[in-house]
Every structure is written in C-alpha cells, then in structure tokens.
C-alpha cells in the first residue's frame, strides 16, 4: 500500500518565523489532507489538496502529484500554531487514508 513520510519530525521556531513541512508519498493519490492536532487531540482539517496550491490566511499548501510530494507553509508563526501536523494520503476506494508520523511543531515566544 501507499507509504507516507513526513519531515522534519520535530521543529522549534521563534514566534514570527516561517516554516515548511514536507510530505512524501509513494504512489499516485486522489486524496491528500493536512491536519493540525491540537493539545487536546482534536484533528483540525487544514487542507484537502490532492493537487495544486491553496492558501488559507498564514497557511498555504502545495501538492505536486507527479513528483509525489506536498508542502505545508506556515508564515509568521504564532504560539497557537504549536502541535503536531499530519499529512494523510489515499489513492483508491476501499482503502483508508494512510497517515504520516507527523511533524511536532513548537513555537516559542
């Protein structure tokens, strides 16, 4: 089945800094999602982006399906951005989303 790898595993930023999180996947996909898991465990949908580029405020994402990777950009980071960011990918019916191991982001004031 599809494999999903995220990098870096951990990231510490000063408030106001920018960052790029990467997600590599091993096969073509028709579903690619980015999530932010808050300290209480809730998974918040950030982007549904099997291809192309999207932006939402300080966050943006790009998926290059032909090269099998997706990037999540966080600009002007805030302490509330701290948490774990997960990438998940899927490529057909009857198979579930496969999650990467996540990137743990800590933004310090």
């Amino acid at each position: 089945g599809i494999q999903v790898e995220q990098s870096p595993p951990d990231l510490i930023l000063q408030e106001g800094a920018n960052s790029t999180l990467r997600c590599n996947f091993s096969d073509s996909v028709n579903n690619l999602q980015w999530f932010h898991q808050n300290p209480w465990g809730q998974l918040i949908n950030l982007f549904y982006i099997p291809s192309g580029t999207k932006q939402n405020g300080r966050l943006s994402a790009t998926t290059v399906a032909t090269e099998r990777y997706s990037l999540l950009y966080i600009s002007s980071s805030q302490t509330t951005d701290s948490g774990v960011y997960f990438c998940a990918a899927g490529n057909s019916g009857n198979t579930p989303l496969v999650f990467g191991k996540g990137t743990r982001l800590s933004v310090i004031a």
């Binding site: 028709n30 998974l43 490529n91 009857n94 999650f99």
Partner: protein
C-alpha cells in the same frame, strides 16, 4: 452544521472488560472510519464502514469490532481489554469512501484508559 461527534469523551475500564465507543457522522456522510492513536504515536487505521457494511479493516485483532447503524452512526467495541488498548480513539466521516478521494473530518475523540 454539526461536526462529527463522539461519546464518551473519556472512558476508564479495567483489564478484561469491554468498551463501547460511539460516533455520529456529519449529516449527509455515509462513511465512518475509526483510528487508534496510542500516546505519542501516529494514527493507525482500525475500521471503515459505509452504507452499513464493513469495507476495510486494519491490522487489529478480532476483539476490535464495530457496526454502522441505518442512520450512519457507528459504534466501536473492544472486548477483553488489554493495557495496551489505552489510547485516543478517533472517528472520522466522509461523504463516501467507495470511489476514494473524499475529504475526511474528525471528531474530538474518546480517550480510553485501561487499568
């Protein structure tokens, strides 16, 4: 529009007991997915239901089971609880998973503790 809901929020059981976790999907969604997240780890796929049928199952023992009701809500049952079953159990829903590609939305989770 209400999101995915799960109950209970927390559940404490002892070894050997049974646990039942419940999930209500977003209105209009027919697929429900269950995931297990042990402390500090990633999400592991457990079960997927669509239109009342089990569509796929992760690499978990048979004591993990569930069902989906006609109103598309779902329950996850864990029998003969073991200490390592302690985890956050997350439920997600999507319009339908049968053709792939549908965005999944997650509930707040049930934190199961086995003593």
């Amino acid at each position: 529009e209400a999101g995915v809901t799960q109950s209970p929020t927390h559940l404490i059981k002892t070894r050997g007991q049974q646990a039942t976790l419940r999930c209500s999907p977003i209105s209009g969604h027919t697929s429900v997915y269950w995931y297990q997240q042990a402390l500090g780890l990633g999400l592991q796929f457990l079960l997927w239901y669509d239109e009342g049928e089990e569509r796929n199952r992760g690499n978990f023992p048979p004591r993990f089971s569930g069902r989906q009701f006609p109103n598309y809500s779902s329950e996850l049952n864990v029998n003969a609880l073991e200490l390592e079953d302690s985890a956050l159990y997350l439920c997600a829903s999507s319009r339908t998973g049968l053709v792939g590609g549908d965005e999944q939305f997650f509930g707040p989770g049930t934190r199961l503790t086995v003593l």
